[in-house]
């Protein structure tokens, strides 16, 4: 029973009624620990600044008592909740309070990762070697041979492992500032616990980083002992596995600062491509559905993008959809581009109006989907041994050769663009296409002239050989 402690509410209204006793059992360590935290909070002048994250378990009701801001989250997740809080209110004091099942079992990775990141909160870990609230079950910290409701024959370490030493584990990490294990089993130990708790909160007040304090705590109810017996169990049995002491104190070291990222405005981030807002319908414009396909690395996706960009710049309705998932098997890439004078329905294409195929698998896969009146342009070094559907206009085109002859072996896609322009398949002024091609090399301006040369050569070839 705790009455009128510094940093506690005057009356525990959230507990119901005007009571001033806690809900903890006689001899339980939680009341003492919370009183120490509350006192330190007041003494350090951080009561307004503090947000306290409660666990699930007996200490779920810390918000009945401590007079500060409170958040209660899911079982095991107090550390993750605190990790979110410290990023939301980085200049404030955040406390996460967890038991040994909460932190050591279900939420261990969240606690461990928070410690590894060095998230700036005070982390209090109450170890009583069992689950208390749920009825005295085996915890990761249960001692070998210790009987609990789920280890009725005693903890078998061969099956359930040795007691989990969290301080020792966390002490392997680089970022924690402070790590100490204390106990509240007797008054001498409580004095040391008081110091450790203050230290952890001072580190928060000064914004120095992550501080972890493990507190061995008696649970008479589930240790099946009276107050004295439970405290003795903590001191005589638990301390054997969980030695007390300061594992780390780097509170005097200089605090590391986050990497600086140059600030930008929203406008700089958004980096809009086009000035106008509205895409007006153009009912007279026929909808064209293009499929581009080839091996990954042949520039198929970019070819589609240049056309989509040009059409988008002109205020047309455009969609670009890349090959995706199962379609990507076999190293082939493809994209579907729809350009329309009205709102586009499906961005995927079952029957292209124009198919540009750069390899054999593309011909095999997409040529059979073409219908009467559709156009096929294919890389002419690829043998055409797929049956051409009736009424399809076929244009073999030496894109790779034209690209190589003009000094940019990789620019077969640019050659195909020139071919499409010459064949009148794009319904856009050539200047718009050329401008979009230039834009596509804005990050590599050196490549613009050579690609324009490929573009021109391709047009000339198409004019002479294909028209």
């Amino acid at each position: 029973m705790i009455i009128r402690s510094k940093g506690f509410y005057d009356e525990f209204e959230r507990k119901g009624g005007r009571r001033r006793t806690t809900h903890y059992c006689a001899g339980c360590g939680h009341g003492i620990i919370q009183k120490l935290i509350a006192e330190a909070m007041v003494d350090l002048g951080i009561q307004d600044d503090t947000v306290f994250v409660s666990p699930v378990g007996c200490a779920a009701f810390c918000y009945y008592y401590l007079d500060c801001g409170h958040v209660a989250g899911p079982h095991g997740r107090a550390a993750a909740v605190a990790s979110g809080l410290v990023r939301a209110i980085p200049d404030k004091v955040v406390i996460a309070y967890q038991g040994d099942g909460d932190l050591g079992a279900i939420g261990f990775n969240n606690a461990f990762q928070a410690a590894n990141r060095g998230d700036g909160f005070a982390h209090f870990f109450v170890n009583n070697a069992l689950y208390a609230m749920t009825g005295g079950q085996l915890a990761p910290t249960t001692l070998p041979g210790q009987k609990t409701t789920t280890s009725p024959y005693g903890r078998d370490v061969v099956n359930t492992g040795e007691p989990l030493k969290v301080c020792e584990v966390f002490n392997q990490l680089d970022r924690p500032v402070y790590i100490e294990r204390v106990s509240v089993a007797d008054s001498k130990r409580i004095k040391q616990a008081r110091k450790a708790i203050r230290k952890a909160l001072e580190i928060q007040k000064e914004g120095k980083g992550y501080a972890f304090v493990e507190i061995l705590s008696p649970c008479p109810t589930n240790m099946r002992a009276d107050s004295v017996g439970a405290a003795e169990f903590v001191t005589k049995e638990m301390e054997g596995y969980f030695p007390l002491g300061v594992f780390r104190d780097r509170s005097d070291a200089e605090t590391a600062c986050c990497m600086e990222v140059a600030p930008k405005t929203v406008e700089e981030i958004v980096d809009a491509d086009y000035a106008g807002d509205v895409i007006a319908d153009m009912p007279e414009l026929r909808e064209r559905r293009y499929k581009f396909s080839g091996f990954g690395g042949q520039g198929i996706l970019s070819l589609g993008l240049v056309i989509a960009d040009a059409a988008s710049e002109m205020g047309r309705h455009v969609s670009w959809f890349p090959s995706y998932g199962p379609e990507q098997r076999g190293g082939s890439a493809s994209c579907s581009v729809v350009v329309s004078g009205r709102e586009i329905g499906s961005p995927t294409i079952d029957h292209p109006d124009v198919l540009v195929a750069m390899n054999q698998p593309s011909l095999e896969r997409f040529l059979p989907t073409l219908r009467q009146g559709a156009v096929l342009i294919y890389e002419s070094s690829v043998p055409l041994n797929v049956e051409v559907p009736e009424g399809v206009n076929v244009h073999p085109f030496p894109a790779a050769r034209i690209a190589s002859e003009n000094g940019v072996a990789k620019a077969a896609n640019t050659a195909l663009l020139g071919c499409m322009v010459e064949l009148g398949l794009l319904d856009m002024p050539e200047a718009e296409i050329a401008e979009a091609l230039r834009r596509s090399f804005s990050a590599k301006p050196k490549l613009i002239d050579s690609n324009m040369a490929v573009f021109e050569a391709a047009k000339e070839y198409a004019r002479k050989e294909l028209s």
């Binding site: 009561q47 307004d48 994250v53 939301a88 809009a272 961005p347």
Partner: protein
Amino acid sequence: MRKFIKGNEAVTIGAIYAGCDAYFGYPITPASEIAHAAAMHFPPLGKEFLQAECETAAINMMYGAAAAGKLSMSASSGPGMSLMQEGMSYLAGAQLPAVVVDIMRTGPGLGNIGPEQGDYNQAVKGGGHGNYRTIVLAPNSVQEMCDLTIKCFELSMKYRNPALLLADAVLGQMMESLTIPDGMLEKQDFSSWSVRGDAVTRKNLVCSIYLEPDLQERHNWMLQEKYESMRCETMAENYLCDDADLVLTAYGSCSRICRSAVDMLRDEGFKVGLFRPISLYPFPEEEMNSAMGGKDVLVVELSNGQYRDDVRLHLRDCDAVIGLANRMGGNLISVEEVLSKARDMLEGSP
């Protein structure tokens, strides 16, 4: 101002204009581009980005940030969405605003990374434990990936409830022209309930626990009333339904495929329309009944009839013929499959 952009990136642009303060997430295909864009764009704007150790951590970091009155988001898919469900329930129970984007992939289990709509029930019915609802909006274009992200934040703040943008891999991967939003979403004052670590909010408590059954029930009734009050937020699109003999209905990327099918069937002289729910919760029941009442219906979805069940639930015309055209497993439904099913129904074939 416009930008030619991927749907997943448009989500991040939307989040920026919504005033989102922090992104917490764990990578998963096909949602990862949202994290990539947030990682690139949030820090220069003074916003937080953190790659969490798992989706469970991410949703609880959001819980923490929301408790402090900050707007946060995450994006995930399939297995990651399942891991977040406990946190979604807590966000709903504690009445916290937060936005999660689900770029649906296939399932159950690991499935594959192709597009599917199999998370419908999980999203719309409340995928975690307890009597709660999530606000669910379903975009069908790159523009809506941005605009409905902003709307998710707006409704999430207005109702103090988690909101979910339910999209799929097609919408995430495709590029279209995005008209950039006009201005930033207005911030709301959360000082009455948040805990910011200051004197004003010191007495506040963010939690979802009520030990007394009567109090827990009262909390539940209050939540149900809140969900009921969301009915005024329904959004839907009616395309050529008024004179239609057959109404196709679909949400998300499927609705785009249906729109093509409707145009083709109209060209063939069939009177066909499309009803598209944009808000999946609250469900646009009135809009659906006025668009589809007395007509035959063809539900098109990339799942096992989950959306059709909701159509049945909300359609008051009990005699309506309700057909289903669906694919699963990462296969998109083709316009032709929709056409074929629609023609069968229009011509009275079984």
